[in-house]
Amino acid sequence: MSDPAAARAPAALETLDLRKTYANGVQALKGVSLRVEPGDFFALLGPNGAGKSTLIGILSSLVNPTSGDARVFGISIHQDRGAVMRQIGLVPQEVNFNMFETPFDICVNVAGFYGIPRGTAKRRAEKYLKELRIWDKAFQPTRMMSGGMKRRLMIARAMMNEPRLLILDEPTAGVDIEIRRSMWQFITGINRAGTTVILTTHYLEEAEQLCRNIAIIDHGNIVENTSMRALLSKLDVETFILDVGGPCERLPEVPGVKLTCLDGNTLEAEMSKRHDLNSLFAALSAGGITVTSMRNKTNRLEELFVRLVEHGAPNKAAA
């Protein structure tokens, strides 16, 4: 039985038939309807040019929609832009701060744009710059910071109004794995504390690990909108990587399994999830091939993503 209180609660984000046609005639969004529940960690994926940044641009008031509506915690962007903006924190894809200012000033100023008194703004700037481990650079011009530091500064800046909805547009692009993990940790903590997070990323492993729900956008249309678990369960095919003891040029025929020799000592086996592994091992053994180790090919979401944007549906692709 559904909770009536939850049913009444407005969505963190709801877009209704959102369309955008640019002046050059490009239709970036062709009627996007989407719902993100409060507290969710939501992945918005799509290939380059799919319409992700346009959608985020509309939500953050940087792009004017052609038609349709977007509501943030029940407030329409057409009805009260200021109230909507107070709910949102945005981490854009491109670095967009003044390179001559210091991180501390940037954060305090942005807080000021939200009407946050200077004393509070200074305390928050210190808190978030410390949490994101760039406090030691807080009073140096931002042009002297590394790419990873700039990305973390943009997250700190987006936190200055302590938003209820945090939108991250490829926040970890070009960031090394150690910093990326620390950023994941921070964002996960923010989400656990109650902030709704919408994440776009090209690292599908990141989306698979962090997000509970997902929408895939392609050519301005939502082609999938479901829970991560439900989406992954649609993938009927599994791929294994097998390291073999000897050369694998002559491969045996195994019904229901597609075998590919990647290099002299590595095999790729693509098969239905229902297919048993025993027959594969028996056939390989009969063919004189010894398997020394085996692992799942990562990443499952990547496989689904490619199939969705190429063919439109995972089942169709897996069939």
Binding site: Y22, A23, T54, G57, S60, S61, L62, V63, N64, R81, G82, A83, V84, M85, R86, I88, L90, P92, E94, V95, N96, F97, N98, M99, F100, D105, N109, V110, G112, F113, Y114, G115, I116, P117, R118, R157
Partner: protein, 275 residues
Amino acid sequence: MNDLRSEAAIDADARGFSVARANAVALYTITRREVRRMLRIWTQTLIPPAITMTLYFVIFGTLIGRRIGVVEHGFSYMQYIVPGLVMMSVITNSYGNITSSFFGSKFGRYVEELLASPMPSWVVLSGYVAGAVLRGLLVGAIVLGIALFFTSLHIAHPLVAVTTVLLGATIFSLAGFINAMFARKFDDIAIVPTFVLTPLTYLGGVFYSVNMLGEPWHAISLVNPILYMVNAFRYGVLGIGDVPLWIAYLVMCGFVAVLGAVALTLLHRGVGLRS
């Protein structure tokens, strides 16, 4: 029912007050950022006008002015050109401040910090205009201070002088903001000062009285809005001017209203800013 209504009204009042307070904080933040930017690059913003105006005072005021002698109502040529040169500095610096700062924020994309914030358009515009006006006033004060090394001045009508310089700075801040909104490259913010602002300033009665001109040049000069600002300010400082004061105020207030409305409309629509 009455209780509920009064509660809603109190809530609305509180919300209105908190929005007003937030807007005041935002306005202060933009203005402060603009002033800090101006002071950070003082070698580009404050020193050049001081040097240029010193040269004007030395060459036109002292060397050439000595040969010209008394111009009008017993004022020396040096005294006559001081208000015009102060106004010229105020105008060019207000304009230059807002175009370079706002276009810089577009070019560096940090204008998005403003666009993605809850600030209404009028707060953004007022903040930038306030910063530009303050630079105009500061440069104007520096130039006036330098002038006092070369000649003595007694401010005839302080209120007129202050309101004129404020209106002049506001007009050219608004004009500069509109220029920066349409600008797509740095060349676009240099074209107007070079081909429009400088000729209009030089032909706006800074160095001469338009009453010295014959027709049609006298009539043509009256179309130049800078003429009204220079002469109103000269009236404020020296007590003399070529145009009636009320017409000068009418022209200046009219420009503030029209340019303000245009700038606000463009900003609200996001011309040159939003896709």
